[in-house]
């Protein structure tokens, strides 16, 4: 089992390296060079040359990649072309703010998704099942900004104007001091993510409930509640963990639109600004960061898979 986990870990590191290479190559495609981008069109050749020297832009590409990678590992994400300051200073607080939003959304959508999905599977073909599958089908189709705008229309403009539509924490103050401003952004993410978890949980549960060992447990006279808790649920966990991982990672991307919509001061908002200003350093740093989140979450999901499967856990020997 340790062998399996180690190999999985190694794969994750390799994928992260490959992503960093991809992101680095993206900079090379940029017309002009970063020095030009930072100093602008009016910069004198001397200053450009000096900055190029300072940023090691004259080195061979592989050397630049390695030193960039080396800087990343110690938390140095380079200098923002737009603000001229270090990227990390720009992002520090925003990472925290985004994490608050993500954790809030995840801690609601995961339990709700699992519960509703299980409920739906256990009531297959009845009204409750039809309603939840129908609702999740519709919600899953909607882009996040559509859901967000719909929420704003209902809760902060015309119908029940009870919640703020934009986040307006005074600069320097933490977002979590204004919980009412967190409600709509978090709710949007929840409404986007939950349907996927629900659908997957339902499908997996149905498959497990039709399996031979669940039928056998019933034929052994095991009470229905115990059949579900002990024989069905454990087998549904691993595939659902995969979907949850994908959804969490998706949220790391979907948060961009939601933050933009609600003017939430997180990394998503920063990414949109960076793209608009063509601030490559910031976009790079955020891409790597989000990819790292994706890889870690997926790794965790695979661990769940390995730990819940005795065949993998015991090495599959007879």
């Amino acid at each position: 089992m340790t062998h399996l986990i180690l190999r999985r870990l190694a794969t994750s590191v390799l994928i992260l390296l490959a992503v960093s290479l991809l992101v680095f190559v993206a900079t090379l495609l940029l017309p002009g060079d970063p020095a030009q981008a930072i100093l602008g069109q009016q910069a004198t050749p001397e200053r450009l040359a000096a900055l190029r020297e300072q940023m090691n832009l004259n080195d061979p590409i592989w050397q630049r990649y390695l030193s960039w990678l080396g800087d990343l590992t110690v938390g140095d994400f380079g200098v923002s072309a737009a603000s001229g300051g270090p990227v990390i200073a720009l992002l520090g607080e925003r990472i925290g703010a985004s994490l608050v939003l993500l954790v809030a959304a995840a801690s609601i959508s995961i339990p709700v998704g699992l519960l509703v999905g299980t409920y739906s599977a256990l009531h297959r073909g009845r009204t409750g099942d039809h309603i939840t599958t129908g609702a999740s089908l519709v919600l899953a189709a909607l882009p996040e900004f559509v859901i967000g705008i719909w929420l704003i229309t209902v809760f902060s403009t015309t119908i029940f104007p009870i919640l703020p539509s934009v986040t307006m924490a005074p600069p320097g103050e933490a977002v979590w001091n204004y919980p009412s401003q967190l409600v709509l952004p978090a709710l949007t993410l929840v409404l986007v993510v939950t349907p996927y978890i629900t659908r997957m949980m339902r499908a997996t549960m149905l498959e497990v409930l039709d399996s031979g060992y669940v039928e056998m447990a019933r034929l052994k006279g095991v009470p229905e509640r115990q059949v579900i808790v002990r024989h069905a649920l454990p087998h549904a966990l691993s595939p659902v963990a995969q979907v949850i991982a994908i959804q969490l990672a998706w949220m790391a991307g979907g948060v961009v639109v939601v933050e933009f919509l609600f003017r939430y001061p997180g990394i998503g908002q920063a990414l949109v600004d960076a793209v608009a200003n063509r601030d490559v350093q910031v976009a790079q740093a955020l891409s790597i960061l989000i990819a790292a989140v994706y890889i870690v979450v997926n790794l965790l999901a695979d661990m769940v898979g390995i730990l819940t499967n005795p065949k993998l856990r015991t090495g599959g020997s007879r």
């Binding site: 039709d210 399996s211 031979g212 060992y213 039928e215 056998m216 447990a217 019933r218 034929l219 052994k220 006279g221 095991v222 009470p223 229905e224 115990q226 002990r230 024989h231 454990p234 087998h235 819940t308 499967n309 005795p310 065949k311 015991t314 599959g316 020997s317 007879r318």
Partner: protein, 564 residues
């Protein structure tokens, strides 16, 4: 529920009786049309039928269980033994649940699917004891789990109980299933084809365990099966089912040896006979010395092959295999195979799963090109892999796959599938090909109406005929048949065997018949090669091998195979 029949009751009152049982799908299509039977303590009743007869549905109904999409529409099931419950199908679900696994228990067909893969076997046995409140304490239950594991002939140490199902062999898994069923000392045991998928020797052991336990504890058994030979071995009484109806019932001796109903007679005549007293179709069985081609059809060919010694230099041999080896890493699949096959001869390649028989047949057909060694056809060595062989060589060796459900593309018509070999080898026009396909379909007794149908509209037997037609369309010299009847019901098997023998007589082709079922020997082959762990351990004429087996493995096989 737990304190139950230890001593066989003295009365002959039935333990379980099903009366006029009717079950339909939720959309109203009736599956069981009034099925009745009774189970006596200490006796085993066999419920026999081919696929689709509703035997499993009837068996599960005895436990008050209906699979999704099925509902009970009429009839009663009474369970005596530990007090009268009345009609158990009238009981609320909670009451029925208490009976399951306690008074009446179930042994599933495929233990690999029915044991919870994430739970140790010890816990799975303990669980059934616990939900039925067996004994007074955890200690009692633990002792009982140990006891019952010993009863089914398994190790019962703590370490063994901590194993997961995947760490056991198929036979061991099935014993765990039986242990679980016996754990609460039930009055009735429903066994759903518990030995399908097990090899002959393991099957014999499992059957013996079941018979012994049932007798010792006075348990009434309902044994669901399609295999009449197994019925002869375990059952006291037999009920024969056909499409949801009971067509015949009686004592085993009466039903098996003096069948009254036409269907039972047909079923019995389809059962292959190891001793060769009966024939399964129109073609005579092979006993004693037998010419390579059966002359019953009046078609005379000059070849008289059996007398020819299997020498690799002999020019009249169609196929010669020499030193064929194949291994994947450290796993040796085939360890040096030598044999030859004369023109017009039929040879059986016998082996259980894992013996390498399918690999060997695929090497010969060129479907597997990882082997070393020589395969000669008409004295010319064949390249490994069909793509490396010439069109003529490809045309001469044809292969029929095990499962007709997998070997035909569901999206192509019968004609499109059967004409592929012609397309690839010949210069025939589309029209000529269609004529040739039609001839091949005639050969396998399918008419023109099948030309444009798709596999989805055909039964298993019909599909296998189409697959055989595809092999015949190019008039091969050698037909390799890989377990072609094992996915089919016994009556369909008989008709396919019959067809293959007739075709062989008509065309004079040679045949390599790969199977795990030794009972088919006298119906299909003049010679037998017995394969074990990738080696031929016994080899000779059918009569020789069956009467005087040389190897221990063949002797064991012959001793354990159930026969009528």
């Amino acid at each position: 529920m737990s304190t139950s029949v230890v001593e066989p009751p003295t009365t002959t009152k039935p333990v379980l009786s099903a009366r006029d049982l009717r079950i339909a799908t939720t959309s109203g299509y009736e599956i069981l049309h009034g099925v009745s039977f009774t189970l006596q303590p200490g006796k085993i009743l066999a419920l026999v039928g081919e696929s689709g007869s509703g035997k499993t549905t009837a068996g599960l109904a005895c436990l008050g269980h209906f699979r999704r999409g099925l509902k009970h529409t009429g009839g009663e099931i009474h369970l005596a033994g530990t007090g009268d419950y009345g009609n158990i199908l009238d009981l609320p679900e909670a009451e029925r649940r208490k009976l399951r696994g306690g008074s009446i228990s179930y042994v599933p067909q495929d233990p690999a699917l029915s044991l919870n893969p994430a739970m140790t076997i010890g816990r799975q046995i303990q669980e059934v004891l616990q939900v039925h409140h067996y004994g007074d304490s955890e200690e009692d239950r633990r002792a009982r789990a140990k006891e019952v594991l010993a009863e089914v002939g398994l190790e019962n140490s703590e370490t063994y109980q901590r194993r997961y199902p995947h760490q056991l062999s198929g036979g061991q898994q099935q014993r765990v299933g039986i242990a679980m069923a016996f754990a609460c000392r039930p009055a009735v045991l429903v066994l759903d084809e518990p030995t399908t998928g097990l090899d002959v020797t393991t099957q014999a052991l499992v059957l013996q365990t079941i018979a012994e336990l049932a007798e010792r504890h006075g348990v009434a058994g309902l044994y669901i099966t399609h295999d009449l030979a197994v019925v002869a071995k375990v059952a006291d009484e037999v009920v024969v089912m056909l499409s949801g109806e009971v067509v015949e019932k009686g004592s085993t001796a009466q039903v098996l040896y003096q069948p009254r109903h036409e269907y039972t007679q047909k079923l019995l005549s389809a059962v292959p006979d190891l001793a060769g007293r009966r024939q399964v179709g129109r073609v005579a069985v092979i006993t004693e010395e037998h010419p390579a081609i059966n002359l019953a059809s009046g078609h005379v060919t000059a070849v008289q092959a059996l007398q020819i010694p299997p020498s690799s230099e002999d020019r009249s041999n169609l196929l010669e295999v020499a030193g064929l080896k194949l291994s994947y890493g450290s796993n040796k699949v085939l360890g040096g195979i030598d044999f030859s096959l004369a023109r017009g001869e039929s040879m059986m390649l016998l082996g259980e799963s894992g013996s390498g028989k399918t690999t060997l047949s695929r090497c010969i057909a060129g479907l597997n090109d990882d082997y070393t060694g020589i395969v000669r056809l008409n004295g010319h060595a064949l390249s490994p892999g069909t793509r490396a062989r010439t069109a003529e060589q490809r045309q001469q060796v044809q292969y029929v796959f095990q499962s007709p459900f997998s070997s035909l593309n569901p999206r192509r018509t019968v004609c499109e599938s059967v004409e592929v070999p012609l397309q690839m080898s010949g210069t025939l026009s589309r029209k000529q090909r269609r004529v040739r396909v039609l001839e091949a379909l005639d050969q396998v007794r399918l008419g023109e109406s099948y030309l444009d149908r798709r596999p989805g509209d055909l039964s298993g037997g019909q599909r296998q005929r189409v697959a055989i037609a595809r092999a015949l369309v190019n008039a091969p010299a050698l037909l390799v048949c890989d377990e072609v009847t094992s996915a089919l019901d016994v009556s369909v098997q008989a008709s396919i065997i019959d067809l293959l023998r007739t075709l062989q007589a008509e065309t004079g082709m040679s045949m390599l018949f790969v199977t795990h079922n030794i009972c088919l020997a006298r119906h299909i082959s003049q010679r037998i090669a017995v394969l074990q762990h990738g080696r031929i351990v016994d080899f000779g004429s059918t009569d020789e091998v069956l009467k005087h087996p040389q190897h221990e493995y063949t002797r064991e096989l012959l001793a354990n195979v159930p026969t009528i």
